[in-house]
Amino acid sequence: MTKPLLSIKNLTIDYIGETADFRAVDDVSFDVAHGEVFGLAGESGCGKSTIAFAISRLHKPPALIRNGQILLEGRDVLGLDPRELRSFRWREVAMVFQSAMNSLNPVLRVEAQFYDVLRTHQGMNRSQARERTAEMLRLVDIPPDRMRDYPHQFSGGMRQRIVIAICLALNPKIVVMDEPTTALDVVVQREILQRINELRKTFGFSVLFITHDLGLMVQFCDRIGIMLAGKLVEQNSAGNIYTKPQHDYTRKLWASFPSLHGARLMEVAAS
């Protein structure tokens, strides 16, 4: 195997409490290869977002990275100084948040939210930025002339696509997507994920994809990790996770999915 793009090693993250600490991520290690879609699945509260945050070092107190390494192309992310960190963020790792609907600043025009990134990282002036913004919006099927609108003037799906466009503005190496479509209905969800899939192929970035919808994950991801209470309990290719789940917990997860066609797993659920 070639050198992985992103490599998480023995990552352990605590949330510091008044008296006792809460271990949200417990000794988790996994790699994401160039151009790969890696999925993280697990129940609510198992620590998926905590890992996602750690990759861009977005944690604030009381989160504490106790142990471990995060390497991006061999570079130690946890060792970056503030200036390096700023230029590392978004340029190398971009993120779509759990509630991407709310991740646009409501009082800034869409254009300004692109410009922010482009100016900070590439020193573009307004007109250059506008051009780039138009280009990015076209990629996600949003008419570029709407860049002067405010976020509340877009539907949820459109906002989500705008966020994705901002993500790709700097050609990042990896895009972390934390449940990017939970709030959307299936058709829109499908459209967006398809679009990401295409873009990924065009631009060659990797994706760390987080969701608790296993079915969706198998459709989209190359490899999948299953998390349970802060631990990564199983890691395998998408096909294997689907057809040959190893861990009991993975099996239980599958059992909880009523299938659309036929009652393949119903029996398991009933038993």
């Binding site: 977005l58 604030k60 960190l85 963020r89 991740s103 409501p106």
Partner: protein
């Protein structure tokens, strides 16, 4: 627009209601202003002279509703009657003079403390739990919880009397004529420092706390996290993303704060003998100077309404979500 129009409607209604309260309040006050005027001036008038004087002052004993109508009419024509204490000055000019001082003092104090408080609040929230945050929070608790009377008295005591660094009264050196000269303005500032200091102490804490709390609430928002993830500099995230949005509720608290400012400036003016509206009101109440009291309350209400309206407008300007509505 619709939003602003509706607010305007409310303001008009509020204004009329306030004017109405204003009309009835002094009329319900016990004691006859003319009599008080003379008993405290140590002079005596015969019954006939008193009656003649009362007439001149416009204390007609007509039916209340008639007085009320005349009153409303005169308000809308900007005629607030004549002051009794500062006879024969019209109320508008008594208040006009005082207004300049109050607006100068209060306006500056509000701007200074709003800017300062907001800034402290932003920084404190940004550096949650740091020494700075602790100092700001605790300082704010102290500053906001001590009554303006107490603050002004203590400040006056130490800086005015004990240390003698600052004058203990006047808005400017009485030896100087008002002008745009450096000396006069310097004197204005020198005399304004203590009242200003007091007002700022009282106000800054409140603004700082509001801003800090709003900021902290906002810092958890996704778009702030996204801004950080975008690799923007801390100052940009702090000011352009967090502070800007946190300012919205702070601005609305500013409108309410105007009331506090008015109250605070009233006390401060009395303690420092600053010739502003608050002092005039206080004197007018002592002298039962109805026309001034009425005019005063009306002006203060209008000030509050205007402040609220400005806040509404800036709300709309700051928050695009309201613009379409």
């Amino acid at each position: 627009m619709v939003f602003l129009l509706r607010r305007l409607g409310f303001y008009l209604a509020a204004f009329i209601a306030a004017a109405t309260i204003n009309f009835f309040l002094p009329r319900l006050m016990p004691g006859d202003p003319i009599e008080i005027m003379f008993s405290s001036a140590g002079a005596e008038l015969s019954i006939e002279n008193l009656a003649a004087l009362k007439l001149t002052f416009g204390f007609v004993d007509g039916p209340l509703w008639q007085q009320y109508l005349t009153y409303l009419q005169s308000i809308f024509t900007g005629d607030l009657g004549r002051s009794i204490k500062y006879f024969p000055l019209p109320v508008t000019s008594v208040l006009g003079h005082a207004l300049i001082w109050t607006v100068g003092l209060m306006g500056t104090a509000t701007i200074v403390s709003f800017t300062l408080g907001t800034f402290l609040g932003i920084l404190a929230a940004w550096r949650r739990g740091s020494i700075f945050d602790v100092v700001v929070s605790v300082g704010a608790i102290f500053a906001t919880s001590v009554p303006a009377v107490v603050t002004s008295l203590i400040v006056l005591f130490f800086f005015g009397f004990t240390l003698g660094w600052f004058p203990t009264g006047y808005a400017a050196d009485p030896a100087l004529d008002p002008s745009f000269s450096l000396t006069y303005i310097g004197s204005l500032l020198y005399h304004g420092i203590l009242p200003m200091l007091t007002l700022c102490t009282v106000l800054t804490g409140g603004f700082a706390v509001t801003m800090r709390n709003n900021m902290i609430n906002l810092l958890g928002e996704d778009y702030i996290v996204m801004a950080r993830a975008k690799g923007l500099s801390d100052s940009r995230v702090m000011l352009w993303y967090a502070a800007r949005n946190a300012l919205l509720p702070t601005v609305s608290s500013l409108a309410i704060a105007i009331g506090t400012v008015l109250g605070g400036s009233l006390v401060t003016e009395v303690v420092y003998n600053y010739p502003g509206l608050g002092n005039i009101l206080y004197q007018a109440i002592l002298a039962r100077d109805y026309p001034v009291i009425q005019g005063q309350l009306l002006i203060m209400t209008v000030a509050m309404l205007v402040a609220n309206f400005i806040v509404d407008v800036s709300y709309v300007l700051l928050d695009p979500r309201l613009r379409g509505a």
